[in-house]
Assembly symmetry: C2
Homo-oligomer: 508 residues x 2
Amino acid sequence: MTLTGKNLIAGEWLGETANGFVAIDAALNEPMTTKFADATEQEVEKAIAAAHNAFVGYSELSAVKRAAFLRTIGEQIMALGDELITTACQETGLPQARIQGERGRTIGQLGLFADLLEKGEYQGVIDLADATREPLPKPDTRLGYLPLGVVGVFAASNFPLAFSTAGGDTASALAAGCPVIMKAHAAHPGTAELVARAISTAISICELEQGVFSLIQGKNYAIASQIVTHPLVKAVGFTGSERVGMILQAQINERAEPIPFYGELGSVNPQFIMPNKLQQEGESLGQGLVASLLMGQGQFCTSPGIWTYVEDNNSDIFERAAIASIKASSAGVMLTPAIAATYQSAVKEWQSIENVTLLAQGQTSEASHLCQAALFATDLATFKANSQLHEEVFGSCALIVRCKNFDEMLSFVELLKGNLTASIHGTDADLNESCLIARAVAHKVGRLIYNQMPTGVEVCASMNHGGPFPASTDLRTTSVGSEAIKRFQRPICYQNMPVQLLPELLRN
Amino acid sequence: MTLTGKNLIAGEWLGETANGFVAIDAALNEPMTTKFADATEQEVEKAIAAAHNAFVGYSELSAVKRAAFLRTIGEQIMALGDELITTACQETGLPQARIQGERGRTIGQLGLFADLLEKGEYQGVIDLADATREPLPKPDTRLGYLPLGVVGVFAASNFPLAFSTAGGDTASALAAGCPVIMKAHAAHPGTAELVARAISTAISICELEQGVFSLIQGKNYAIASQIVTHPLVKAVGFTGSERVGMILQAQINERAEPIPFYGELGSVNPQFIMPNKLQQEGESLGQGLVASLLMGQGQFCTSPGIWTYVEDNNSDIFERAAIASIKASSAGVMLTPAIAATYQSAVKEWQSIENVTLLAQGQTSEASHLCQAALFATDLATFKANSQLHEEVFGSCALIVRCKNFDEMLSFVELLKGNLTASIHGTDADLNESCLIARAVAHKVGRLIYNQMPTGVEVCASMNHGGPFPASTDLRTTSVGSEAIKRFQRPICYQNMPVQLLPELLRN
């Protein structure tokens, strides 16, 4: 089917594409043909007003019907067939197997929330009345949850499906009973249009109001500002860079009414390698960390960006193995030309820092838009003195911080900003030291991992994908797993209510 | 025991009181004798640094030991004896029975969190490993919770015990494992010092680090700013006016790292009176609403500030009963001269609004600092046109919005800002209309009440004391009840952890 290049505004495809923007074929580094319309202020207003009007009705839809809607979205995404895969691969440069896997995960996420809704969308708390209590009778009080209202969601560059149009934020907001205004990522607008088509079809099949979902296309920053500052928008989800996330945060801060902002921004995902592990598995660990770093060309939020250990004879073996793996890696396609340029300039900047050594780079390519992996090393003092080394470099670039002793490793923890994850690699003989690291680093991360790589995020009830700033702007929440629904709900206490006025879940 | 007038900085009583401020004896409207020291920048810095240093150790204290600490605080508050009651009554003008009741509630709140900790401080989620899962094995993932870090708490003017030094915010933060920096309210510094003494004694008895709690005295606004913008402060709790709350919010917005701000600000607590209820119980309901309005001289955050019904013959009976009750009420002492002045000026301003009728006032008093209750009435159009009528007047002032028909009553709901509570007063014959009101007003309130008054907040697991802005700056949380602990915790996922590195609760 031909792409329209238009915005989906509460069921209507609207917009003037003639002067629109185009996506880039990431592998070829060439503009694609379809022109996409920047949404106008009126179109965004129309979408938000329609979402607000649809809110109360949608919020009152039974949990079972919301579950059916989520599953129908999944079916309609599958029904898009190969066109979705081809489009997403072309717009992002990600390989077919990865996009197919991501489609599976996206549908799995929708199913996870559908399961949750079918099992009971939340756990109510009921405290019955007690007329005999002294000095005053106890009223009947019951705690339930309501959806927040219209949610604005911003698609991520690096997950065109699982963190975009029908991704985790959309799925959890729709599950909670909130209409969604989705701002597509300008790097994969065609993928967004296809998925929006699937959602729109699902809305029709389930006989819901079309205002429940709108897709906003655009490269114009005013669109983002309009969405996040709109009085009828009651929460915002965003996955992207710290720079852009903090621009949105600043705009949200100007609102008369504070609203939750769920920005997942940056993470270096520190890797702690303990002495006995280094001795016993130095070579395979060096290879394994590089393999994790190279996944998706390092464009994962959980990519292992900083590694640390206490230097000894075994660290040479580890470093040699890592260096060999880096050198053997091919240059790779990045998601967008801008991401490639930012990556290349960060690698160049690190090379200019005194006492930072470039240990290895991946193979070169004649195509200047392809990026090589890079592995650097430094000491703790240099790390401490150079704050740019503390920032995430989005791509396959890692830094080894060589500590002189275990105390230095503990000091390294103190220097870290917030992170999505940290891994401790150790053996039983390292347990005491691992425990000390775990105690300290727990307060810096959303997920603490032992002897596994940070890349790969389970989608389940016990997952936490978030963490202290800048990993997340709201560390009390997760953007992956079934707990993510709680971002778009809030408590309400019903006191002394007749059964007819209580929600189903609180009637028992 | 003589009051020192000093700040409790991590176990030491510090400060220069010579040029300090004094509290006002509310009933007499006269300055009291003890001088209190505005904390210096250095003292605040010292308190926060000590709290930060105490954090990891305190956070690792077992839940049972934290529970014992909370109970010991309660015992030490009781051990303060009559001096606490006398001081609080004098500083706030609240009657002895009320302060005694509030002391009981304060100790009850500490006990509620202690019970929670003893039962299991949170519900972990455990998803076991599955090595056989395709295409990739499932790792062991376990979801637990960690405390946020140092919490800044601001005491409320209207609850010198239950929402102040050892009040709900402090109790829930300490329960969560967070050290507390308490900014005392300048209207009741002596009460604050006494309770801080009890907490300090409890810290010694339980052999904790004194940095776990500090009391900051002061009238200087720079102190508040220093606390909320300090990089080591990780959450802030506040109960007070919308004006002051939004000043703090703006300062928090300037931080590099966003942190949760729990501000409980303002609420008009609308009362919806349905036709059959009006007919059957108009007189007693008129008296009952006035009784609720007069509680604590209207200085409750849940005071019923706006009442509405569809005008008919029965509304006359209701209004006559309410007018008689208002007229019979004595002028009363307010918490502070500033609150009295603000109340009197709001009542005066409302009298000047066209189409707003002053139905009745309470008895006058020769003492100009005593305030009379006031009851106003208007129509929906006037209410809609005058935004000052939508704001909370802190004190015994209520406004009746007389609707011409039920549609007007539904439009009235749309005009409301966020509220802590709303009550629907109806009979079975009103159920259909009550249901329509409940559906609409649920999205404007944190607690929805049927046939009961809004004043009186149960302290239990199913309570929600919060709501859409300006009731709260974070509608996802409650400041009363055991769920309040969640404001100071955040999730962490442990992946593939050896049992030695897991928290106790996640080991099974």
